[in-house]
Symmetry: C2
Subunit: 206 residues, 2 copies
DNA sequence: AAACAAATTAAACAAACGTTTAATTTAAAC
DNA sequence: GTTTAAATTAAACGTTTGTTTAATTTGTTT
């Protein structure tokens, strides 16, 4: 789908408002005001509020697998690759955290008329790529056998999102006084914690 | 706050609907219909939709710290306690997953007029209890030093919630054909994965 | 400059929203 | 049996919702 400047303008405003106030908490009038366009333009370009969300998802959720595969084939050191994967995922998910938040909440109840098929397909393919990498590491006796690979991603993404969903809590707890401090914490401490977690899990049979 | 049967009836319906459709996605008319009460009773008992949510939170979010402290003092084996803590948290969070979902989404955007103070206070106290336990283990050289204790909870809760938010994805992936199969997976495989993760993280310096 | 489709607008639509009202029923106290 | 307060009701309140309409403007092609 080709998107013109005005459509992108609408999608950016949509992402921000949906993430802040939720799908139902955001009115198309708010979006039209934030994007500085007439309210009828949203129906004109996207058809409906539901379709608008779908357009946002495909706009944001592409080309991740390529990045992932590139990270895996960049080095022969399994731990280096592992760190790179975690770092890549955190960076990526952090940049698109707003869209992911929307997905989490709209996908989990499921009842709505929103098409998540391409999101799910993406997720499955990404998991396969990781699975292949871990399996290779297991064959070379670098990683242990007894690991739920499908839950690796849950631990990586889940840890990040729990931090994000409780940002205000951690902000107070860790004295992260401004957005810059949060950014630093995410890309340093939080990323390291997840890297450490995944490496420990893949090597240490307790 | 003393709650009569009718009020509890309302809160149960509220929890289900808020978790399924979100705060804004749920109308008080839906709640009144699900709870089988007149719509005016909600204002009559709780004052407003916002206050109704606050009542739900305090109704669900009490007495956890007691359970936590009891689990910690039950054994002298640090790993046994660790497993118990994870198991307790998963059980508890799974039972109250609907309310936690609501909190995650309403607390993270923050802008609404909902009072989360007692929730945050609870969270802080629980973290302190865990911190004390881990610190003791560190002094006895059972746990390693280089661990972000404040992110331990993020990994435990985050892993669970990522599974929950992507339930449909994992259901398809793991052939969990009915709710009973999901229950079993949560309390067996998922819990074990998290236990393994936490123990590995606390013992293995990679 | 005329013609034309695409872009943009203000206004209107019925439906649903959270909340309040004022009247009625219920149940316990006297 | 009367009184009194709590519980419950149907109806109405003014807003806001997502979407559509029909008219107007814009920019390009002829």
């Amino acid at each position: 789908m080709e998107l013109n400047d005005k459509q992108i303008q609408i999608l950016e405003a949509t992402e921000k408002l949906f993430a802040e106030n939720g799908f139902d908490g955001t009115s198309v009038r708010q979006i039209s005001k934030a994007a500085d366009i007439n309210i009828a333009m949203i129906s004109y370009y996207f058809g409906s509020k539901e379709k608008l969300l779908e357009a946002l998802l495909t706009y944001r959720m592409s080309d991740f697998r390529m990045q992932l595969e590139s990270a895996i084939s960049k080095s022969n050191d399994y731990f280096e690759v592992l760190d790179d994967i975690v770092s890549l995922i955190v960076k990526r998910i952090h940049r698109n955290r707003r869209t992911h938040k929307i997905i989490n909440f709209e996908y989990s109840n499921g009842c709505r008329n929103i098409d998540f098929d391409s999101y799910v397909e993406n997720k499955k393919e990404n998991l396969k790529v990781i699975e292949n990498f871990v399996n290779r590491g297991q064959k070379e006796k670098i990683f242990i056998q007894n690991v739920q690979i499908e839950l690796l991603m849950a631990t990586i993404l889940g840890t990040y999102f729990h931090f994000y969903y409780n940002k205000k809590f951690y902000q107070a707890l860790l004295n992260l006084t401004d957005e810059a401090a949060i950014e630093r914490y995410v890309h340093a401490t939080l990323t390291q914690h997840i890297q450490q977690t995944i490496k420990a899990l893949l090597t240490n049979a307790v």
